[in-house]
Point group: C2
Chain length 117, copies 2
Amino acid sequence: MLLAADTTRLAIEAKLFRGFGDPSRLAILSALCQEPLTVGAIVGLTGLSQPNVSNHLSCLRECGLVAAEQQGRFVTYRLSDDRVAELITLAEGLLADIALGVYECTRYRVPGDAQTE
Amino acid sequence: MLLAADTTRLAIEAKLFRGFGDPSRLAILSALCQEPLTVGAIVGLTGLSQPNVSNHLSCLRECGLVAAEQQGRFVTYRLSDDRVAELITLAEGLLADIALGVYECTRYRVPGDAQTE
DNA sequence: TCATCATATCAGCATATGCTGATATGATGA
DNA sequence: TCATCATATCAGCATATGCTGATATGATGA
């Protein structure tokens, strides 16, 4: 059995991964891999609504994945650590090799359809 | 704006991250970082219910994060790629430095409580 | 052949999550 | 001081997700 301490650690680490585990948030993080950006710039790049972007940014900032800096009326966000970009790069490499499997996950699964494998 | 191809790629990659983004699944993956395990062994190690473990394993297998091998009545699961373990290790390192932030995320947020920061 | 065992699957549920439209906040320049 | 602009926050909703208890599946040894 796992110790309680491990359970807590795993819960926190899962939360960290979940920061990356949404298409909108991952789009934001990917954009920030290039350069720091204002909220407006992220809205423009991703095509997400402004409240949606702000919500995700709050979430990402609380989890420590991004950092914010206010500059006048603008707020510029950047990745808080190089390892955030590294995680994305590593996942992309992994994905390249197992892409077929994940792609299958994205298909609609008709119940009774033996399309698996 | 993001191209449609990027949107698809991000959606698939987010799905990959989501495989890690649940405490139960991460506990399973962490256990498999040590050695391949049968479903029963995973149930014993994690304390999760057997149906729950089987469900998560199906999910992880579909996404290509783990591979299964039937041996008699037993099914042994293992990580499908070394990078799965690498991602977990990298995230743990990152977590060590931003732990405070993520920890804050785990607290109950009383509405109106200005506990942030 | 049949009881047993390991695993997979299922329906149903409670809860978490992501989004939208509306609005609040707070900084700026006139 | 006030209109404007960038961003944050909010309520409400539709949907996704994770779990449980029950049951199905399929392999094994007697």
